[in-house]
C-alpha cells in the first residue's frame, strides 16, 4: 500500500458467489457413468486414427476430431500408478480430509491415465509403478467417484 493512501473509510463486506447449477454428462458421459455404477466396469473410447484408448470417454477425438460415439471398449479396473501427489492443504472443495493421495493411474487397456484417489496405503509409501485396483462406491454420485478410490493390489 502506498503510505499516503487514506484507508479510514475502507472496510470489507462478506458475501458469497452462490448459484445453482445442473450439469449434463451427455450420452457418452452418461453411458460411462451408468456402466460404472451398475456394472462396475470402466469404459474407454478408442480412436483408431490416433491409435489411442482414451479414459475418460469423449464423443470427439480432441486431436483429430474423429467421431468416437460408438467406439467403446472396456478397460481394466486395475492399473498402475504413473504419477501422484499428496494433497495436504485443507480446503472446502476437497473430497477427503487431508492428507490424501491423488494419483494418475494407467488402467489396463487404456493409453491415457486418469486421476483418482489412492487410499489404503500411507502417503509416504506410495510409489510410481505400483499396482492398484478400483474400489467401487456403495452409493452413486453420478460422477467418477462411483469409483470410491483405488487401493494397492498385487501386480
Amino acid at each position: 500500500m502506498q503510505s499516503d493512501f487514506d484507508t479510514s473509510d475502507c472496510y470489507t463486506i462478506e458475501g458469497k458467489l452462490a448459484l445453482p447449477y445442473t450439469y449434463f454428462a451427455g450420452r457418452v458421459g452418461s453411458r460411462f457413468i451408468t456402466t460404472l455404477r451398475d456394472q462396475h466396469k470402466i469404459m474407454g473410447v478408442r480412436c483408431d486414427a490416433c491409435d489411442t484408448v482414451f479414459v475418460p470417454p469423449r464423443q470427439t477425438c480432441e486431436r483429430c476430431l474423429g467421431d468416437l460415439t460408438d467406439s467403446w471398449c472396456e478397460v481394466g479396473s486395475r492399473g498402475r500408478v504413473v504419477n501422484f501427489t499428496v494433497v495436504r492443504y485443507p480446503d472446502r472443495h476437497l473430497p477427503r480430509p487431508v492428507p490424501y493421495v491423488l494419483a494418475m493411474i494407467l488402467l489396463e487397456g487404456a493409453d491415457t491415465p486418469i486421476v483418482h484417489l489412492l487410499e489404503g496405503i500411507p502417503p509416504e509409501q506410495v510409489a510410481v509403478d505400483m499396482a492398484v485396483e478400483a474400489v467401487f462406491a456403495e452409493t452413486t454420485t453420478h460422477t467418477i467417484r462411483d469409483i470410491d478410490h483405488f487401493k494397492p493390489c498385487d501386480a
Binding site: K16, L17, Y21, Y23, F24, S30, I33, T34
Partner: protein, 282 residues
Amino acid sequence: MTTYFGVDVADVIETMPSRFRKEAAAGISGRFGYDLGEAGRWRLAVRDGDAALAPAEDLDDCLAVVATDPQTFVGIQLGKIDATEAMALQKLTVAGDRGAFGSITRLFQKYLPPGEEALPDTELVVLKQTISVGQTFATGPVMGRFLKGLKQKKILAMRCPVCGRLQSPPREICAVCRVRNTEWVEVGPKGEMRMLEYVYYASPDPLTGETRETPYGAIGVLLDGCRDEEVFWHLLNPAQLDRVQMGSVIDGQVRHGSRLRPVWAENRTGSIDDIQYFELDD
C-alpha cells in the same frame, strides 16, 4: 379417455402415485390440484412422504392449482412441451402458491409409456449442485464512505468536478468526463418516485444462494437535491407496490411521482441493508 402423443392421458394421471419419490418428499405436505379440462379435476394429497390422488370437484382447499388441457399436460410429462412456454402461451396456469407447486413437480419420476423401460444406456446423467464460494468484497474509500454515511442515516453522493453530475451510490470516476469525482454532498433522504420495476419473477440471490421473495419492487428514487436521471436505486415497501405513482420528464414536461422516505434499519452496519426500503411519505 383420449391419447396424446400416443399416450393415454389416464395412464399418465393414474401412475402419478406410483411415480412419487417418497424419499425425496420428506417434510413436504399439502394438497395440490390438477384441473385438466376434459380429463377431469384431480387432487393430490401429499403427507409424510406419501401421495394420494383422487378425482375432486372442488379444488379450493389446494395450496396450488395447475390448470391446463390434457394435451399440454401429457406433452409436458413426456418432455415434448416446455412448461415455461406453455405458461407463456396461457396454455398452462398455476393459481396459488407457485413455489410449492414447483417443488411438488420435482417429486415425480419421469413418466414412461407402457413397454418403455429406462435402459441404462439411455439414461442421461444429471448433476445438480449449488456452487458457493465465500467472498470478501472491498468497499474502497469511496463506497466505504458512502456506506458509512448510511449508518448515520445519511445518503451521500459524489459530484463530478467537470459536468456536475451526482452519483449515489458514488463511483470513483465520472465515466463521461473521465475524471475522478472529488466533492461529497448529502442528498435526500426523501425523494420522488421515478421508476418502479415490479418484479414477479422469483430468482436466486447470488449473494446468499436463497430464492428471493416476490413480488418486490426495485425502484429509482430521485432524492431531494438530485436532478434528471440521478436516481437512487433501492427497494419499495412491498405492501405499497400498487399504491405508488411514477414520475417522469418528457420534453421538459414534469410529472411528479409519489413522495418516498427511507425506512432505516435499527442495526445499521454500513451496507445496503441499512435502508430496509422506501415507503410512501404521506
